[in-house]
Amino acid sequence: MQQYIAKRILLNIPVVLLVVTVVFLISHFRTDFAEQRAAQGFMGGMEFEQAVAAIRQELGTNKPLIEQYGRYLLDTARGDFGTSLVSQKPIVVELKNRLGTSVELGILQILVGLVISIPIGVISAVRQDTWLDYILRFFAVLGLAIPSFYMATLMLLLGFNWFGWGPPTTTYRNFFENPSLNLQAMAVPALAGGFAMGAVIMRLLRSQLLEVLRQDYIRTAWAKGLRERAVIARHAMKNALIPVFTIVGLLVGTLFGGNVILESMFGLPGVAQFVVISFKQNDLPMVQGIVLLVGIVLVMTNIVVDISYAWLDPRIRYR
């Protein structure tokens, strides 16, 4: 196990390096365009050319690419992910308050996804190739096909027409300040996003369960006369859930910035909304910084997920 952990960490160090490089390459692909964009908000009384020159100074794009790359790596290693052109504050400060919101939304979506997908996935697998299976699979694919923002709009309409309810949208309160208001604000985006997530999980669960159900030890259980429910719950689920667990781990990606559209639409002050805001304000370092930060955090999350996977399923360690 130790060896496995060490191996995973070692393997991922180049990944982190590559993540930084990918972000660097994209953001230095066309410096002139980027400079122009950033300069627009930076102008504060200067001529445009002056503003561009000032931006060059500020962002350091007048230096050779290699030198910029080096500094970028160093900065990242030190934990400096960039400073906002608009507020002059470092990105970590800006994100501090927003992280909680995004994480909360992500967790709620995963919960919704699991609650939807597990029963449906199980039923669909157990009643494979029946009409029930087809219908459920159809709805699962529908969940993937309907854009989440579309579903959110429809849910809002339904919510108001049927229940006379609307989400609180004026001042966002975080969960610890006012749980009721907070959950109401998150309800629709959580459901809309969770639905899509549920569809993904359901399909995977179904296929994993099908594979498990064909295994010999399941047949043994049947032969022993165990009831269906017991077979599934005690034997099949445990093994089918392991790969599902890794998918959920990967879906953690949405915790950190995947909910761009839903957060913007509902005015939730999360990390993803901040990306859009920064984009609209031409605050380029912020956009770059968030993507980089999210990338690095997700690599670390993947390591954790891999390790937990190995801990849950001993076969993995020796692959």
Binding site: A145, P147, L157
Partner: protein, 314 residues
């Protein structure tokens, strides 16, 4: 009795292949969802290709209807002429899907939108598949250091939530169609390479590959002649399902306003959602188009997967 001919004297006929309509019927029965998907895909392609003919009007053309506030001879600065913009009109014989919030024909927009969605989708996937296959094959075939490096690169690409990466690209690069296709293509590379690599890895051990090597075939020849053709199946599957994701991604980007202006389902949806209570046609039909397209590709891809490679059954 020897009147019956011996078995080796009887006429032999090879089993005939069933006529195509029989195959189609069998397919429809065995894989109803997939068939449905396929039909929708055909419709979409027809729409995209035949847009100039099938769209009844120029999509940018606006329509007018009589203005009830207008009185000839009486000056009314708010009703200057006899007609006014025919916006958000209900579906009718003149406008099958009604008109949108700017007085344009919704049906024409949906048809032309298919062209963009499919065009961008195919373009992006072409990039993903070409690059991803190259990476996957090279990675799997050569193994070792090359494999490690390439796979780490793929990991690095895949770790980002797609929309974030797309926003990053949209921020730093000019928002035109070419860059959009490039961006969507890049985001898909890692997944393709993973699948291709897996397939190639398993194929590498196949006896016929060994045989070819023994016979003296070079690496390149082996790759091209023996391995690549067999990756076709998973690639086709990736193509169909991937097209669905790209369409949604493009719609999402249009929704956020990050795509170049033009006729796109995502943009229709974005415009239409504010009018959804009074006149939902724009939003409903564009949302339906997106949903249907993605649905079709996913269902067809699923069915294809079931047929071609039962091991990959979802």
């Amino acid at each position: 009795m020897a009147t019956e001919a011996a078995w080796f004297e009887q006429e032999w006929t090879l089993p005939r292949r069933a006529p195509w309509w029989v195959t189609a019927r069998r397919l429809a029965v065995r894989k109803p969802l997939g068939t449905f998907g396929l039909l929708v895909i055909v419709l979409l392609v027809v729409a995209a290709v035949g847009a100039p003919v099938l769209a009844r009007y120029d999509p940018q053309q606006t329509f007018q209807r009589p203005d009830p506030n207008y009185t000839p001879g009486v000056f009314n600065p708010q009703a200057l002429g006899p007609t006014m913009l025919d916006r958000t009109a209900e579906p009718s014989t003149a406008h099958w899907f009604g008109t949108d919030s700017s007085g344009r024909d919704t049906w024409s927009w949906v048809i032309w939108g298919a062209r963009r969605s499919l065009g961008i989708g195919v373009g992006a996937l072409a990039i993903s598949i070409a690059t991803g296959t190259l990476v996957g094959v090279v990675s799997a075939y050569f193994g070792g250091r090359v494999d490690m490096l390439l796979q780490r690169l793929m990991d690095a690409l895949q770790v980002f939530p797609a929309l974030l990466l797309l926003i990053l690209i949209a921020t730093y690069m000019e928002p035109n169609i070419r860059n959009l296709i490039l961006a969507l293509g890049i985001v898909g590379i890692s997944q393709v390479s993973r699948i291709v690599r897996g397939t190639v890895l398993s194929l590498r051990e196949m006896p016929y590959v060994e045989a070819a090597r023994v016979l003296g075939a070079s690496d390149l020849r082996t790759m091209i002649h023996h391995i690549l053709p067999n990756t076709a199946a998973p690639i086709i599957i990736v193509f169909t399902i991937g097209l669905g994701s790209v369409i949604i991604a493009e719609a999402g980007l249009s929704f956020l306003g990050l795509t170049p202006p033009g006729i796109s389902w995502g943009q229709m949806l974005n415009e239409g959602r504010n009018f959804i209570r009074t006149s939902p046609w724009q939003a409903v039909f564009s949302g339906l188009a997106i949903t249907l397209a993605v649905l079709a590709f996913n269902l067809a891809g699923d069915a294809l997967r079931d047929i071609m490679d039962p091991r990959l059954r979802a």
